[in-house]
């Protein structure tokens, strides 16, 4: 019986480039080649999964494996006696107003291009994460080091971008200098180089965490992330102290 194949006919004059790869040329791959192929695929998949797994594990930082995100002070530091002016123009006594609360004290200025907005945003995000604990007495106090530009109104407007509960304090340059000294942070220095937005001010970028007993045991450097703040503030709010 005469049988023919039903296949598309190529023009006999067409010169085809030979396909690359032995299996595409119609040759049956040997058992060794097939084994090699399976091992290669398995290697790629396992290697990739390992890579992803390591990446995900390394990015997970549990509380157990990490100590406090800030620097634990060798000896506790008492909350300074600072009386400045708040954004409503009233005197604000730091010790009296924040007594019995967890207080985060920081120095900065509203035109700060990098450190201050990042610190404030991280804190704001962490406090949001705490939810109901937020009203449990975490106070954030922002003292300007640029009283010339940071009037109470400017300060209020700036802090409201983050949280209307953040306290803004200002005063005379002498009062601000004294406050920095009392809090044991380096004094701010106005940068002689001006920028298109005016001048910049070099200032201490750390945040000091005072616990309800009025003592600071941890100082948080710039670069403390929101997740670190969330974890540490939870611990501070439960009264946990660094050992």
């Amino acid at each position: 019986m005469h049988a023919k194949l039903l296949v598309p006919m190529e023009s006999p004059t067409t010169v085809e480039t030979p396909p690359l790869g032995a299996e595409d040329a119609g040759a049956e791959p040997s058992a060794a080649a097939r084994r090699r192929l399976i091992w290669t695929i398995a290697g790629i998949v396992i290697g990739g999964l390992l890579l992803v797994g390591i990446g995900l594990l390394a990015s997970e930082r549990s509380a157990a494996e990490s100590e406090w995100a800030g620097t634990v002070l060798a000896s506790p530091q008492a909350k300074p006696e600072i009386v400045l002016t708040d954004t409503s123009g009233q005197p604000y006594d730091l010790r009296a107003e924040t007594a019995g609360t967890t207080t985060i004290l920081m120095f900065g200025y509203t035109s700060c291009p990098d450190v201050c907005p990042i610190n404030l945003a991280s804190l704001d995000g962490a406090l949001d994460e705490l939810g109901d604990n937020r009203s449990n007495g975490v106070r954030v106090v922002f003292v300007t080091v640029d009283p010339e530009r940071d009037t109470p109104e400017v300060l209020r407007r700036y802090l409201d971008q983050f949280d209307s509960n953040f306290v803004g304090l200002t005063g005379t340059p002498e009062e601000i200098r004294a406050a920095q000294a009392a809090a044991d942070v380096p004094g701010a220095v106005r940068d002689p180089q001006t920028t298109p937005d005016g001048y910049t001010v070099g200032h201490a970028s750390q945040l000091i965490a005072y616990q309800p007993d009025g003592q600071a045991r941890i100082v948080y450097p710039f670069g403390t992330r929101q997740s670190d703040w969330t974890r540490d503030l939870r611990r501070l709010l439960t009264g946990e102290q660094p050992s």
């Binding site: 595409d24 290669t40 992803v52 390394a58 291009p113 990098d114």
Partner: protein
């Protein structure tokens, strides 16, 4: 002058800062493509198919997309300021530069590259749909893990490696669909549609969702970067949304094109098969005489593969 973008602890500035390495790479690619094409055309004038100009345009557009994704401002913003722009870069590499460069690469050039680099077997393996889909999504997951982003974004070499990994993963993704070596493409249109949907539309929705709905910034690089008009969390949510649905217009458009072309070709085939009035009896007799696929014949061919018959005088009659 930096040669590639990198995360820097400086306030964002709109003063242009081009990256030397990006320009060298892009110009190098364009010149290599043009020189190779011209040399091939001189040596093989019979191989001209009239689509050289179109391919040159595709390739130039692909390189343009590569430049856009890597150079200032997108490169700089993605490297150190905004995770949403980091995600946009990923899209530009994998869904823009890679397919356009692939469309602009002629078959002879692709064959020459894999033959000269002795990488035919490896490339064939990597561009198999299943392998390509797995690798593409592994790259997606690995290069968006916070530890990878924070590590690679901190150096110029890291950024270069990240960008090139994205470009190559994009080439892998598109090879089974529009690869220049035609016999390495997925064989049927439905297979290509299913492949694209699974590889590029389905899986990215999962990490995209995680990123979009995370309650805290995941990437230290972007969280601690000087702000560029948007908070770190809002920026991250935009990045997540972009990963989740940003690919839809491109992937679904391509799937649509494949489907319509397939539908049209099926229609044409059906029209060709439809017997012409008056010739029905003749056609019926020819069909009975000619078109029988014999199992015995296939088995006798040894490999089980149906080979085109050698045209003979009897067959052509």
């Amino acid at each position: 002058m930096r040669w590639w973008c990198v995360a820097v602890n400086e306030s964002w500035s709109w003063v242009p800062r081009p990256y030397l390495g990006v320009w060298v790479l892009c110009i190098g690619l364009l010149v290599s493509h043009a020189v190779a094409t011209r040399r091939h055309q001189r040596r093989h004038p019979e191989s001209l198919d009239g689509r050289e100009g179109r391919r040159a345009v595709w390739f130039a557009l692909g390189v343009g997309m590569l430049w856009l994704a890597s150079d200032w401002p997108v490169g700089a913003l993605g490297a150190g300021y905004l995770s949403s722009i980091h995600m946009l870069q990923y899209m530009l590499y994998t869904l823009g530069a890679a397919p356009l460069m692939m469309l602009g690469t002629p078959e002879w050039m692709a064959r020459a590259i894999v033959e000269r680099t002795h990488s035919a077997a490896a490339v064939r393996l990597l561009t198999r749909p299943l392998v390509a889909a797995i690798l593409f999504n592994l790259v997606l997951l690995a290069t968006h893990a916070p530890v990878s982003v924070d590590t690679l974004r901190s150096t110029q070499v890291g950024n270069f490696v990240l960008d090139m990994i994205w470009l190559f993963s994009g080439l892998l993704l598109w090879a089974p669909v529009i690869g220049p070596i035609t016999e390495w493409r997925a064989r049927s249109a439905p297979a290509r549609i299913v492949y694209l949907f699974c590889a590029a539309a389905l899986i990215p929705m999962i990490p995209g969702g995680f990123i979009a709905f995370a309650s805290q910034p995941l990437y230290g690089t972007y969280e601690l970067a000087p702000r560029v008009g948007v908070s770190a969390l809002d920026d991250q949510q935009m990045a997540g949304v972009l990963m989740k649905i940003g690919n839809i217009p491109i992937i679904w458009a391509v799937m649509g094109v494949i489907w319509f072309r397939w539908y049209e070709s099926e229609q044409r085939s059906a029209r060709r098969r439809q017997p012409v009035r008056g010739a029905r009896s003749a056609a019926a007799s020819r069909t009975a005489d000619v078109t029988v696929v014999s199992r015995e014949t296939v088995a006798a061919s040894g490999s089980g593969r149906i080979e085109p018959p050698t045209p003979t005088g009897a067959d052509l009659n």
